[in-house]
Amino acid sequence: MIKFQCMSRLWVLSVLCLFLTSCGEDSETIKITFIGPLTGGVSAGGLGGRNSADLAITLRNQAPDAKYKYELVSLDDECKPNVGVQVATKAAANKAIVAGVTHYCSAVAMGTVDVYHKFGLPVIVWGAVLPDITYGNDYLEIHRVNGTMINQNTVAAEFMIAQNFSSWSVIHDTTDYGKGHFKYFERALSESGGTILGTFGVNPDQQDFTAELTKIKALNPEVIYFGGLAPTGVRIRSQMNKLGMTQVFQGTSGIVSDAFIDGVGNLSEGVLAFREGAPTEKLPGGKMFMKAYEARNFNEPAEAYGAFAFAATNLIIDVIEQVGPDRKLIRDMLNETRGHESIVGPVTFDGNGQNTIAVITKYVIQDSEWVVWEDSEYASGKRFLK
């Protein structure tokens, strides 16, 4: 019994300690938030982005000429709008956080822009591609380094027509990402004069696509356009093989990742995809980024949008170095970004905060590697699609 009393007193004491110590002030670092999906189905992209943002912060903290010390506050939005609003509120309501690098999933970004506006937190979107995120509002706080799906699909459609393809079948997932891509691709294609033979909206969690593919087989298009992310894309490309289908597989930015090649294996040869931004590996800064990323030994690869998260974080830090840690000043300064050099090419924000220098890079998989089209043996005529 004595032991019990002793223990309970100890307990009360330690709880008091806990409260008292947690009342202490935070250290003098400048906080930037990163928000993306760290758990659940699309966490691969989110973790790649988180690591890249983290890398940007670490590199800057190591730089001798940096004025401030920075700290990254990473939050998980699970790719769910409601959780996104929660964490966005958490970040935006925290006055210590001065800016954010936010969102991979478009539906989440759509839900949170109001929150950032309300609390005045300037953010740069690093991965979500729905045009409405920047163009659906006139909030000064919202910026985006990556291009939208409009740019991507215009380039894609024109390019494919130039390669003498004329008929498509579309498989897209029914999330905002896949549906949006389909919408803009269809629009671009009708302008360029291609035809879509059939469209198949599918559930991204779906495992088996043989029924849809059999239907496509009957339509016999030249190209299968896939709007969606790597996991679904891997399944579809593998299952095409099951049915003996040899159509050209054209994807969107969502499949530009090593995961796609790893998942598909040998079948990946000749798969096409398009991504906003200059090819990371061709810019001097990009090479440095890839090397530094490698050196950190992260558990996860940077994925397609890691470079954007890195660029966005760096852009924010550059602005803070210039104007100091003040949300309003950062916001206004960000809006004046013109031709800022980054690892994804120069960044210029238009009136809506959208990066207008929409470089779209065309990729093709050659020998299990994403190769920029212009450098590939396909472009030089040594290999042929199909």
């Binding site: 029914t174 909206g201 495992q207 029924a211 849809e212 059999t214 239907k215 003996g244 995961a259």
Partner: protein, 304 residues
């Protein structure tokens, strides 16, 4: 419709249906002995596939021939999941026997999400889909528009065989007798000297082993596995078991095939194939209203 395409749909549906049926048999077994839903079933399936993949990657370095690798993968995968199933039962399911049955559901649900998150985090680069080796012969016959592959045929036969063996195990062996006795009436079975705990553990091991088998065959068929593959398969397997009639192996088979059939039909009918799940589940709701205890469950009157 062209006959070739028709046959293609049929084969696709059959492979899927057999996979669903294998999962459903697990649900039916657990329900039979313990009257519980084990919601982690789909995730156990996924873990089985990942275990097999890990084994393969290990064997790959020893350069073992494909058939040998396959056998070792199957053995280790099934045994490991059987063991996991038994452990899960022993430490999480049986201790909750006296509490509300839904709590078992919750604890297995959480266990499933722990497995899922653990694979995602601790399997190297586990948040991305993983290629699964194509160890089955890939020969195929092109017959009109039908592309019939040898591996599909092998998988259909293996799946069917596994179900038949399970059925025989339950109908013809001593342990099968014990399982049936426990399923009939736990109290009486105990009085007859049947080791209740052991029987339940064996059943869980059996069901989980089957899940591993279906996980591995899913991997072999699609040549790709990912950490969330068990989610939908689990829900569909459960639906198949229930529609067929819980407690009946035939019911599980019928339910599995029916579900695959509905999905394929939905994919053919609707211009947006994502409606196929809406369609399949809507039909299921109607079927349940028509046959409240499933299609094949014995509808003996309740004892009053």
């Amino acid at each position: 419709m062209d006959l070739g395409f028709f046959a293609q749909y049929l084969i696709n549906g059959l492979v899927q249906g057999i996979t669903y049926a294998l999962v459903a048999v697990g649900f039916t077994l657990f329900f039979g002995v313990l009257d519980v839903i084990k919601f982690s079933h789909g995730d156990v399936l996924m873990l089985g596939a990942f275990t097999a993949l890990a084994v393969f990657l290990g064997l790959d370095q020893l350069a073992s021939p494909a058939w040998l690798s396959l056998i070792i993968m199957l053995c280790i995968g099934i045994l490991a999941m059987g063991l996991l199933g038994a452990l899960l039962c022993k430490f999480l399911v049986l201790p909750l026997k006296e509490s509300p049955p839904l709590n078992t559901l919750l604890i297995t649900l959480m266990f499933g999400s722990v497995i899922r998150e653990a694979v995602r985090l601790f399997f190297p680069n586990g948040s991305n889909p993983k290629p699964f080796p194509a160890l089955l012969p890939e020969a195929s016959i092109n017959w009109g528009n039908l592309n019939l592959r040898l591996d599909s045929v092998i998988l259909i036969i293996t799946g069917a065989l596994a179900i038949v063996v399970t059925h025989l195990l339950i109908q013809k062996t001593r342990i099968g007798l014990a399982i049936r006795a426990v399923a009939q009436d736990e109290e009486t079975a105990r009085l007859m000297g049947i080791d209740f705990k052991k029987t339940v553990l064996v059943t869980f091991a059996l069901g989980s082993g089957l899940a591993a088998l279906s996980g591995i065959s899913t991997g072999l068929y699609y040549q790709e596995i990912n950490f969330s593959m068990g989610l939908m398969l689990g829900v569909i397997g459960f639906s198949a078991a229930v529609v067929g009639g819980l407690g009946s192996i035939y019911g599980a088979i019928v339910g599995g095939l029916l579900f695959a059939f509905l999905q394929t039909l939905g994919a053919i009918w609707f211009s947006v194939p994502a409606y196929k799940d809406v369609f399949a589940f809507a039909v299921i709701i109607i079927l349940m209203a028509w046959r409240p205890t499933g299609l094949l469950a014995d509808r003996s009157a309740e004892r009053v």
